[in-house]
């Protein structure tokens, strides 16, 4: 992907990878993939491949970080050195530190942190392959990993981005669209409570465009939510089938 494409949307209204402007990339989700973690999930969102693992709730170490009235969430977002075209240094970059914070803050409203004071949970997000929109896919996977760990939640959190390329508001930007395009708006959303937990914007949009981008992203979130729920149920379906036996 060295040369910049002239146009991101062709005459037929299709994007570089043949998607329509309001179409998601294919999403595949699996829950409970790691046996050593208390909860885990794996997501493939287009070319993104991301693993999320949750440990806890457990005693906080170091102990002085624990809070007397609530559980502490810790999150580490990390990109594998081989996850991008040019080798990425495995040391946490500025961007990764920021994304760790952003993901943590997107998930925190969904967790009943006040139930288990003085304890903590650790969320590890490992990006194995990146192609734009990793923060969104990470949030979707991490929320599932938390649910899989048996930690009480208000709702699952699901995230999806929208943006502007070639003067058009489109859903779910991939890497090239993000880099060449005009703007990117990632949104994390709790579908049942109808609440937004993450809203960022990178680029320039008019207020009208911004509104339609947010609405489009929420529509995308709802579509991914159906897959997310399905994935979580599939893991526990075996138990369920035995009930009906």
């Amino acid at each position: 992907m060295s040369e910049k494409p002239e146009k991101l949307i062709d005459k037929k209204g299709l994007r570089l990878d043949g998607r329509k402007i309001d179409e998601l990339r294919p999403v595949k989700i699996e829950v409970g993939v790691l046996s050593n973690a208390d909860g885990s999930a794996y997501i493939e969102h287009g070319k993104n491949k991301i693993l999320a693992a949750v440990f806890g709730p457990r005693e906080m170490h170091p102990k002085h970080l624990s809070l007397p009235d609530r559980m502490v969430l810790r999150c580490r977002y990390h990109m594998a050195p081989f996850s991008v075209q040019e080798r990425k240094s495995p040391a946490p970059s500025r961007r990764e530190v920021e994304l760790s914070k952003v993901i943590r803050e997107a998930l925190e409203p969904a967790v009943f942190v006040e139930y288990y004071p003085r304890s903590g949970i650790d969320i590890f997000v490992e990006v194995l392959q990146a192609d734009g929109g990793t923060r969104c896919a990470s949030i979707t996977a991490a929320a599932l990993a938390i649910a899989d760990a048996g930690i009480p939640m208000r709702d699952l959190v699901v995230a999806c981005a929208a943006g502007k390329i070639d003067d058009k508001v489109v859903l779910d930007l991939m890497d090239t669209e993000d880099k060449v395009g005009v703007a990117d708006v990632p949104v994390a959303f709790m579908p049942n409570l109808n609440a937004v937990t993450l809203l960022q914007m990178d680029g320039i949009l008019t207020p009208d465009e911004f509104e339609s981008a947010v609405n489009l992203a929420i529509e995308g979130c709802k579509k991914i939510y159906a897959l997310q729920k399905e994935a979580l149920k599939t893991k526990y379906m075996n138990t369920k089938e035995e009930v009906e036996e």
Partner: protein, 236 residues
């Protein structure tokens, strides 16, 4: 006042379960007049009370619970015990020695050392303090023999069965002593290894097929079949 689920339906966190005059039971929560799920599990409604039997959970200490834990550290005047919960428990030296503890007279690591397993009761616990254990009752204390097995804590009631029917049946059929830690750790002690293995087999089966109806009968059958199989092998 509608409900949005069928009996024993599998639900995920955040799913809307009922609206109106309902009471939020286990693993659910109420927001306004709506009841939502907070864990993955099977819903059940019993007289306005919406409950979820969680398929995945961890142990939260409760006063009076019998638990099985591992000693992880010997301290100055007691032990730190891992009870498979978000909080580690404390066991005081004076509780074990049943007399005032004097550091110059007693060497704590000779009574209980790191790695030892104990059966204990939760003596005190609240939001602000770690649980404290006690072993000052018959049947509690250091575990010297037997086998340990771990299950999800939510499945312990299933192993006990209605009014203890399941557990007493297994004890009778295998001749083993079984102690159920409410934190999901089970101790099986029998006369010989075979008896213990038989009991573990039955418990593992219960864990896999929990929430099925008529499970006690099927486990009884399983144990009888296994026993006769083993008899045959011996006779050969």
């Amino acid at each position: 006042m509608p409900t949005f689920f069928e009996k024993k339906q599998l639900v995920t966190p955040g799913e809307l379960l009922a609206e109106g005059d309902y009471i939020a039971g286990e693993n659910t929560y109420k927001e306004g007049n709506k009841i939502y799920a907070s864990r993955i599990g099977l819903v059940d409604c019993d007289n306005k009370n919406v409950n979820i039997v969680a398929l995945r959970a961890f142990y939260v200490p409760k006063i009076g619970d019998i638990v099985i834990g591992t000693v992880v550290e010997v301290g100055f005047n007691g032990w730190t015990v891992d009870i498979e919960s978000p909080y580690t428990a404390l066991l005081r030296a004076s509780d074990v020695l049943s007399r005032p503890f004097k550091p110059q007279n007693d060497e704590l690591s000779q009574v209980l050392n790191a790695g030892d397993l104990i059966v204990a009761k939760i003596a005190s616990y609240d939001r602000a303090h770690d649980p404290q254990l006690t072993v000052g009752e018959p049947g509690l204390g250091k575990i010297t023999r037997g086998q340990i097995m771990k299950v999800t804590p939510t499945k312990i009631p299933r192993v006990i069965g209605r009014k203890g029917s399941m557990i007493s049946m297994i004890k009778q059929e295998t001749g083993c002593q079984i102690i159920l830690g409410l934190n999901g750790v089970i101790l099986v002690t029998g006369k010989n290894l075979e008896d213990e293995e038989l009991a573990l087999l039955a418990i593992r089966k219960i864990e896999e097929e929990s929430h099925t109806s008529g499970l006690t009968d099927r486990i009884t059958q399983l144990l009888k079949e296994e026993k006769s199989k083993r008899e045959e092998k011996k006779n050969e």
